[in-house]
């Protein structure tokens, strides 16, 4: 019943962005550059060292690429939740509640940030490079994992986004706070978790399941064991973690929406 409505909403958003071609192209390009520059950081560091957190340059680039695609997807789908504080402060969230559609899908489709496709694209190119430079004993399962891991990672990071932005229902001015978790997770998942100190790792890899976005799946692809001692199968369960994260995020969102109070007029 609701599907045709969303198809129309999303098609309209896409059309509206495509109508400013030059601006869209520039924004898309700057997303590609952003991703490329983050890669430059890794490459500059590796002109001075041979391993980071126990991993070689191509292995780190592999994790970086999976994380980049995942972050691009998450941003594409959930990034517009960054505007939630504006909806709450101006009272327009009342309108969202009145429509006979789910509040979360409505918020997600307020603006499809199509320029994020640039980030996904850059991630895919980097992934292709990394896959041709690391040693992987290919099996059909690993081929499946390469495809599924970035998508599952996207769902995990998207769930993080939903939970972080839900906090805005209590603290309206918490956009920047949410950014430290959302963009922070984006930055965290790009590197092997062995790089980070214990406290940061517990928070960003396990409480926020950041380690399942790129790190564990990459270990499974590379056939390497985790220097921190996690079992080998852990790299294969990221789709499950994604499902749990999404279910949790959905429940948390509904809980948060119940705490919404209009700002009055």
């Amino acid at each position: 019943m609701a599907e045709p409505v969303y198809r129309k909403i999303i098609a309209a958003r896409v059309r509206s962005q495509m109508s400013y071609r030059a601006s869209f192209a520039v924004e898309c390009l700057s997303q590609v550059i952003a991703q490329a520059f983050e890669l430059v950081v890794i490459l500059v560091l590796f002109t001075r060292i041979n391993a980071l957190g126990g991993f070689g340059v191509d292995e780190v680039v592999l994790m970086f690429a999976i994380a980049a695609i995942a972050f691009g997807f998450a941003d594409l789908v959930a990034g517009q939740l960054d505007d939630l504080p504006t909806f709450i402060r101006s009272g327009t969230f009342d309108a969202v509640l009145l429509r006979p559609l789910g509040t979360l899908p409505q918020m997600m489709s307020t603006d499809i940030r199509l320029r994020r496709v640039g980030r996904v694209f850059a991630g895919v190119v980097t992934l292709a490079y990394a896959l041709t430079h690391v040693n992987i004993d290919w099996t059909p399962w690993k081929v499946l994992l390469v495809v599924v891991a970035p998508l599952a990672g996207g769902v995990i990071l998207g769930s993080v986004w939903v939970v972080a932005c839900s906090v805005c229902f209590w603290l309206i001015e918490s956009r920047e706070l949410a950014n430290s978790v959302t963009y922070g997770s984006g930055a965290f998942t790009s590197y092997p978790i062995t790089v980070f100190s214990k406290g940061l790792r517990y928070l960003m890899a396990y409480v926020v399941p950041g380690a399942f976005v790129a790190y564990y799946p990459s270990l499974a692809l590379l056939g390497r064991s985790d220097p921190l001692g996690a079992p080998g199968w852990i790299g294969w369960i990221s789709p499950l973690v994604a499902l749990v994260a999404a279910a949790f995020a959905g429940a948390f969102w509904r809980f948060a929406v119940r705490h919404y109070r209009g700002t009055g007029s």
Partner: protein
């Protein structure tokens, strides 16, 4: 001069109104500092303790100074003038009896004054308390650091002013702004110290104004070199002169419609 002093105070007051936003910004700043410090110090540790004369303490100091200076010089997020150009409100700014460039600089100095308390000191204090930290050895470094940070502020203002002025020709400078947002971190030496780059890249970067915005004051604080100060002074003046000239050309383009 009176006007400029008032503008400095007004800038300070305007930004000190938003306290909750400031706390949120501080948290974000610290989280990103932790992430950046982890990656860089992991690299330094692997390279048996130093990269390009950055040891662990110097690397932490570099990260926390960078996180602090970022908000002080306001590397990102200054679009007031661009918006006023797009909406046409800039006409009001132009016929006021002031020099638009120095007036806005005065306001920015006021903003930066508030940012010292809320953006510059907290991450540095956080880093100095919880991590190895390299304090200056010569007392003279302190006043030099203040001078260098001020020059960084003026240089950064100069760059932002030019980016905003581009709106007179582009009408929408958002594309330019997003280019700036994604490239400046790397070019200014905020993400990786400029000294970590290969030699040719270092030469190329120091030929541009970008290291003057962040890397230079950090170099002064870490007592790495004082050439940075000359580099900053040159670019601060050059960018202000460029801004002055570009503004003069831009003003000629302004057409006030109707009456």
């Amino acid at each position: 001069m009176r006007v400029h002093a008032d503008l400095i105070i007004a800038g300070f007051r305007r930004y000190s109104t938003y306290r909750q936003a400031m706390l949120a910004g501080m948290t974000t700043n610290v989280v990103f500092g932790l992430l950046r410090a982890a990656v860089l110090t992991a690299a330094v540790r692997t390279a048996s303790g130093t990269i390009a004369a950055y040891d662990i303490a110097a690397t932490y100091t570099y990260v926390w100074l960078g996180q602090g200076l970022l908000g002080f010089v306001l590397l990102w997020g200054d679009t007031t003038l661009a918006t006023r150009v797009r909406t046409g409100d800039v006409v009001v700014d132009l016929y006021r009896p002031w020099n638009l460039q120095t007036a806005m600089l005065a306001e920015d100095v006021g903003r930066a004054g508030y940012a010292v308390v809320t953006r510059l000191v907290p991450p540095i204090a956080f880093g100095a308390l919880l991590f190895p930290f390299r304090w200056p050895e010569h007392p003279l470094t302190w006043p030099l650091f203040v001078v260098s940070a001020l020059l960084a502020l003026v240089t950064c203002y100069g760059v932002r002013f030019l980016i905003n002025l581009a709106t007179f020709w582009l009408l929408d400078n958002r594309g330019l702004v997003s280019f700036w947002n994604v490239t400046s971190g790397l070019l200014c030496g905020m993400v990786v110290p400029v000294a970590f780059y290969p030699g040719w890249a270092q030469v190329a970067l120091w030929a541009t104004p970008f290291p003057a915005l962040l890397q230079a004051p950090i170099n002064v604080f870490l007592e790495r070199d004082y050439f940075s100060l000359a580099h900053q002074a040159f670019w601060a003046v050059a960018l202000l002169v460029a801004g002055h000239l570009v503004l003069r050309r831009a003003v000629r383009k302004v057409v006030v419609q109707g009456g």
